[in-house]
């Protein structure tokens, strides 16, 4: 560095320091003026108070005032408190109703919510799609928090097996529409909120029209088809989406399309398709009915959905960009919270909850919008028209598991026929003795999972879970090893699907010989009970537990 450059740098530094000092000085002067003004006001206020009259004299003053007032025609305030409101009323309008201050007081006094947050909640409409294990707690907390409107979508009716987790429904509501049941309960919790009932399953044809009037959507459904449909609709209408799911002891939560920018805008949050561009194979999708679900697990996820929704609403949801009018209009509840003042967005993440893992919560970072996303990229192919016309087949996209039908009709035995067969065997046992019976009786293989087998099973049944059969031949070989050659094998499961596959597997093992040894190949000896234990309860023994 040359000497002149050195000096130049020094001059520059000094200039900067002078400028900074000047700014500071100006600021100090301004503060001084303000402080002096405040001091003056305070002195005047005190003086006024000093001049205050003793109480007796004050009431005399009021009497004089009243006389003057009455002479002038003032009629109020003569008998007690009745008319005092005239003054209060004229004074100002409060932004919330009296009962709202009371009801929401505990959240209003939190700086995270405050009056402004409550006003935003009060002007926000939320759509809850699916009124089950997730939707019930989510809707409860949103209604409790005082959103403007809660829309409820579900085409199902309340069933007994819903009640352990779907906390808006109750025993006397069995058979009632879930939406009606939920709305009734929510109304009794908070009558200040509007409730809109959509007693139908979501379809592509109605989704756009239905979602349009809401500001935020909660995906509380239970199948990939609805998850893709809800996400696509939210992208098209630029609504943020809070998506959750749960199974067994685990739950997952994502906030999608947040901020809810137009397709092609890379600053928008990723959509469901960005995270999962291809649906899972249909046979890998397990429902709560098949896999089970712990009430508090799905409850936790629903509560977290409500929490995320409240956070998004209070932060201010940008109104969708209106392409027709070509203007970007402010936010719900507050005007100035446009892009510039919007709080910095958390990067997209997936929250994992696992009840039996320590620690139970784990948050992982997700990708941003996918450049070739079918729904939210510049090259998106999903349009409003393709949705409303029904040309997008979500069921086909996600695939369907057809009911298993691998056995011919005569390879299966109906519950009634099996009952008749067993009754006859019982007659043999009683009349001809157990020796004959022993030779004629069948081996019952129950292929449900062990915990289901332990719930209820046929007396003589042996348990070889289908998952074990799938994993390895050994369990089945072990179980069937000591079979006498021409014994009937009856396979049973819950619904009559896995049992068909198991029959096929057993026949294959018998044909291969192997551990089963010299068993004569005779497929007709291996059969399954059509319709499984459900059919058994329905057609033969109503006392046999159904779960």
């Amino acid at each position: 560095m040359s000497p002149t450059e050195d000096v130049d740098a020094y001059v520059l530094r000094l200039r900067r320091q002078v400028r900074a000092a000047e700014v500071q000085l100006r600021d100090l002067r301004r503060q001084l003026v303000q402080a002096e003004k405040q001091a003056d006001e305070a002195r005047n206020l005190n003086k006024n108070h000093d001049r205050g009259l003793p109480f007796a004299q004050q009431s005399k003053r009021l009497a004089v005032l009243r006389n003057i007032g009455q002479e002038q025609g003032y009629e109020g305030h003569t008998n007690g408190t009745e008319d005092r409101s005239q003054y209060a009323r004229s004074k100002r309008r409060w932004p919330l109703r009296k009962e709202e201050y009371k009801r929401y007081g505990r959240q209003l006094i939190m700086p995270e919510i405050a009056l402004e947050g409550q006003l935003r909640l009060r002007s926000c409409s939320v759509l809850v799609v699916g009124v089950g294990g997730l939707g019930c707690p989510a809707a409860l907390y949103l209604a409790g928090a005082g959103v403007s409107t809660v829309g409820l979508v579900d085409g199902d009716t309340v069933e007994e097996s819903n009640l352990h987790r779907q906390i808006l429904h109750s025993t006397e509501k069995i058979g009632m529409s879930k939406v009606d049941s939920a709305a009734e309960q929510l109304r009794s919790l908070n009558p200040l909120v509007n409730y809109v009932s959509h007693r139908e399953h979501l379809t592509p044809q109605i989704a756009l029209q239905m979602f349009d009037r809401y500001d935020l959507v909660l995906d509380c459904t239970d199948h990939p088809t609805s998850r893709y449909l809800i996400s696509d609709t939210c992208v098209l209408l630029q609504k943020p989406l809070v998506s959750a799911s749960a199974l067994r002891t685990e739950g997952q939560l994502m906030v999608l399309n947040n901020p809810p920018r137009a397709a092609g805008d890379v600053t928008g949050g990723p959509c469901y398709r960005c995270v999962f561009p291809r649906p899972p194979p249909a046979e890998s999708v397990t429902s709560c009915g098949e896999g089970g679900i712990l009430g508090p697990v799905v409850g936790v996820m629903g509560v977290l959905q409500a929490l995320e929704a409240i956070k998004i609403i209070v932060a201010g949801i940008p109104k969708p960009f209106d392409a027709d009018r070509n203007i970007d209009i402010s936010t719900v509840g507050r005007e100035e919270a446009s892009d510039a003042s919007a709080p910095t967005q958390d990067p997209p993440s997936l929250l994992l909850f696992s009840a039996y893992t320590s620690p139970p919560f784990r948050s992982v970072r997700l990708r941003s919008r996918r450049k070739d996303c079918m729904a939210c990229s510049a090259s998106a192919t999903i349009t409003r028209a393709s949705l409303t016309s029904g040309s997008l087949d979500y069921a086909q996209f996600c695939g369907v598991v057809n009911p298993v039908s691998v056995l011919e009709k005569d390879s299966r035995i109906s519950a009634n026929d099996y009952d008749a067969q067993q009754s006859m065997l019982e007659w043999f046992r009683q009349t001809r003795g157990s020796e004959v019976y022993g030779a004629m009786t069948d081996t019952i293989v129950d292929v449900r999972e062990k915990v289901q087998f332990d719930l209820c099973h046929f007396d003589r049944a042996i348990n070889v879970p289908w998952s074990e059969i799938l994993a390895d031949d050994e369990p089945l070989k072990r179980a069937l090893e000591d079979l006498s050659a021409r014994r009937q094998i009856t396979v049973v499961c819950r619904l009559g699907n896995d049992s068909q596959l198991a029959v096929r597997k057993i026949r294959e093992l018998r044909r291969r010989g192997g551990a089963i040894g010299s068993v004569e190949t005779d497929d007709s000896l291996v059969m399954d009970i059509e319709g499984g234990l459900r059919a058994w309860t329905r057609d033969v023994d109503p006392e046999f537990p159904e779960y």
Partner: protein, 105 residues
């Protein structure tokens, strides 16, 4: 370079059922593939299928030589798409999490 990389592999969302019902696996992964290239996620997936997974239902984990749709791969808690997907070269002490999406509600 050491012969193996000690890493943690975790399965969740039901995938653990395909891996002996065990969520967390300490794995010593060969640090190089057969062809001498550094071990990548793609290699790890193959390794898991061949050496760790006892369940025969491979199709519930892999499809077309990569993890099946509906499974997220997280490298040290970040979506693998942020890290180069299956070409990411595994480092020692990495945590690789496979999450199967849930759909119930």
């Amino acid at each position: 370079m050491p012969d193996t990389l000690d890493i943690t592999v975790e399965f969740t969302g039901g995938l653990e059922m395909l891996f002996s019902n065990q969520r967390k696996h300490a794995i010593s992964l060969p640090s190089r593939e057969e062809d001498g290239n550094p071990a990548t996620i793609a290699f790890l997936v193959r390794y898991l299928c061949q050496s760790v997974m006892k369940d025969r239902r491979k199709e519930l984990f892999v499809l077309d030589d990569t993890v099946r749709p509906g499974i997220l791969v997280l490298i040290n808690d970040a979506d693998w798409e942020l890290e180069g997907e299956d070409k990411y070269e595994i480092q020692k002490r990495d945590n690789i999490l496979f999450v199967s999406t849930l759909h119930g509600g």
